[in-house]
C-alpha cells in the first residue's frame, strides 16, 4: 500500500478536481447567471440540501443499474459461448446483436414501458439491452483468440471437448469479459435513467430532474446529473475492483495464499514414484 497505490487514488482525484475547477472558472469568467448554469459549489449544494429526497432515488437508480447489468452480462456471456460453439448459431445471432444496438435506445424505451409497465422491469430490460452487447462481443472475441497451439496441446494431452472448453477456453474469457463489463458499466446508468425518463412517475432521479427543470432550479438539475454520473463512476470502479480480484495473474507475480492452501507446500517430499 505504497506510493503506487496512493498515486492510483490521488491522480484520478486530482483530475476530478481539475474538471470542477475548469467548470467554476468558466462560470466565473463568462459571468454566467446561476439561473442559466450553476457553479459546481451551487450544484453540489443543491444535492446536499435535498439529500433526504435524493438518496432513496439514487439507491433506486443503482438498483435498476445493478440488476440490469447482471442480467445483461449473463445474457451476453451465454450468447457468446453459444455462438462460439457453432458457426450456424453465430451467423444467425450476430445480425440480431448488431440490429439490437442499431435500435435507438430512447425510441425502444417507450414501447418497452407500454409492454412491461411502470415498475422496475422496463428499466432492467433497457440496461440489460445496453450491457449485453459489449459483453457478448468481447467474450466472443476472447474465445476466438485463444491460441490454436494451446488448444492443439490440450487435445494432444487427451483433453475432451468439454474439458478443453472448461480448462482452457473458459478461463481465457475472463479478461475479455471484464473489458466488456467495463464498457457496459459506464453506459448502464444511462440506460436506467432513460427508462426512468420514459416511465417517469416522479419517484426517480430522472423524474426529480425533470421536475427541477420545469421549476427552473438549474442547481438541482445539475446536481442530480452529478449524482447520476457519480453512480456510473462508482459502478465502474466496483467492476474494476472485481476485475483485479478475478484476474490476479495480471497484477501479481504469485498467487495469494489462502489459509487452507498452506498445507500444500509441505506435501513435497513423499509419495512420488522413483
Amino acid at each position: 500500500m505504497s506510493r503506487s497505490t496512493s498515486r492510483a487514488i490521488l491522480i484520478p482525484l486530482a483530475s476530478v478536481a481539475l474538471v470542477f475547477l475548469a467548470w467554476a472558472l468558466i462560470i466565473r469568467l463568462f459571468a454566467v447567471d446561476s439561473f442559466v448554469a450553476p457553479s459546481p459549489l451551487e450544484a453540489l449544494g443543491a444535492v446536499r440540501e435535498d439529500w433526504g429526497v435524493l438518496w432513496p432515488l439514487a439507491l433506486r437508480t443503482l438498483e435498476e443499474t445493478v440488476y440490469g447489468f447482471a442480467a445483461g452480462a449473463a445474457l451476453g456471456f451465454v450468447l457468446a459461448v453459444l455462438m462460439s460453439q457453432a458457426r450456424l448459431v453465430r451467423d444467425l445471432v450476430y445480425p440480431v446483436l448488431v440490429g439490437s444496438q442499431a435500435v435507438p435506445i430512447i425510441a425502444i424505451a417507450a414501447p418497452l414501458v407500454i409492454l412491461l409497465g411502470f415498475g422496475i422491469l422496463p428499466k432492467i430490460v433497457i440496461v440489460a439491452w445496453i450491457v449485453f452487447f459489449p459483453v457478448a462481443v468481447s467474450v466472443l472475441d476472447g474465445l476466438a483468440r485463444v491460441d490454436g497451439d494451446l488448444l492443439a496441446l490440450a487435445r494432444a494431452m487427451g483433453g475432451s471437448r468439454w474439458r478443453v472448453f472448461r480448462v482452457i477456453r473458459l478461463p481465457a474469457t475472463v479478461g475479455p469479459l471484464f473489458s466488456g463489463l467495463k464498457i457496459g458499466a459506464t453506459y448502464a446508468v444511462t440506460g436506467a435513467v432513460i427508462g426512468e425518463l420514459v416511465a417517469s412517475t416522479g419517484g426517480s432521479l430522472a423524474g426529480y430532474q425533470r421536475q427541477a427543470n420545469s421549476s427552473l432550479d438549474t442547481a438541482a438539475v445539475w446536481g442530480s446529473t452529478l449524482l447520476m454520473t457519480a453512480i456510473g463512476i462508482g459502478w465502474f470502479l466496483l467492476v474494476v475492483g472485481a476485475e483485479r480480484l478475478a484476474t490476479p495473474w495480471r497484477t501479481r507475480s504469485t498467487r495469494r495464499r489462502l489459509g487452507f492452501g498452506a498445507s500444500r507446500r509441505t506435501t513435497t517430499d513423499p509419495g512420488d514414484a522413483p
Binding site: 491460441d147 497451439d149 494451446l150 492443439a152 496441446l153 490440450a154 487435445r155 494432444a156 494431452m157 487427451g158 483433453g159 475432451s160 474439458r163 478443453v164 480448462v167 482452457i168 478461463p171 481465457a172 475472463v174 484476474t247 490476479p248 495473474w249 501479481r252 507475480s253 504469485t254 498467487r255 495464499r257 500444500r264 507446500r265 506435501t267 513435497t268 517430499d269 513423499p270 509419495g271 512420488d272
Partner: protein, 254 residues
Amino acid sequence: MAATTPKLVVERASRAFDDAPALAPTSLAVAAGEFVSLVGPSGCGKSTLFNVVSGLLAPDAGRVLIDGADATGRPGSVGYMLQKDLLAPWRTVLGNIVLGAALTRGVTAADRAEAAALAVRHGLGGYLDHYPHALSGGMRQRVALLRTLATGRDLLLLDEPFGALDAQTRLGMQRWLLEVRAQTGSTVLFITHDVDEAIFLSDRILVMGPRPGAIVDELAVDLPRPRTLAMATAPAAVEAKRRILATLHGEAAT
C-alpha cells in the same frame, strides 16, 4: 521383454496439404529410452511428421504405433512440447504442471503433491505459486517440460523447445533436459535445426531432406553419457557435424 517392441514406430506415413505433398512416405523407429533428433531445413515437414506422431494430424497413408499399438490419428498418448511455452497465464506454475490431469480427469491432491515434488526435484520448487508472466523464458520452458512429464507419458515429442531462447539460456536448458531425462528415462523425439544441439543431446540423429520431407540420412552419435560440453569438439562429434552439414547442404563441408 524379449525382442523388445520399439517405443515408437512410424510406418510409411505421408501427408499432403491441398495436393502439395508435405511429408513423403516416412518410416522410423525409436527404441524405449532412446533420444532421437530430427534435423532438417525449415519447411521440410518436420512439424507435419510431429503432428502425425502426436495424433493431432491423421496421415494420408501409413501408420503410427506406440508401444506396438496403433495410435494413428489418435491424440493423447504422447507428451508434447513446442517452441512456445503455451503456459496458461491464469494458472500458477503448479497449476500449469497439473494441466494434463485437469484436462483428462480432474486434479487431485495427489496430482498436486506429485507435481510439487517434480518441480522441487528439477529446481522449480521456489516458483510453485508464481504466475508464468513473472518467469523468464527459460524458466517457462522448464515449466512446460515438467507439465509434459507430469502427464506420465514416457514418449516425449519436443518441437524446437529451446528455439526461442538466447544461446546462453539454451545451453543451460540442454544440460537440464539431459539431467531430467537421465532421471526419468523418457524416450525423446526432438526436432531442431541446430546441428550442435542435436549432437549434444541425441543417441541418434535423423536428417530430413527438403520438401516433401523424407529422411535422407541417419547416424548414431558415438559419445558417452553423461554428455559434457567438452565433447562438442570430440572427433566423433566433429565427424557427425561434418556429415550432417554435408547432407543438409549437399556439399562436402570440409
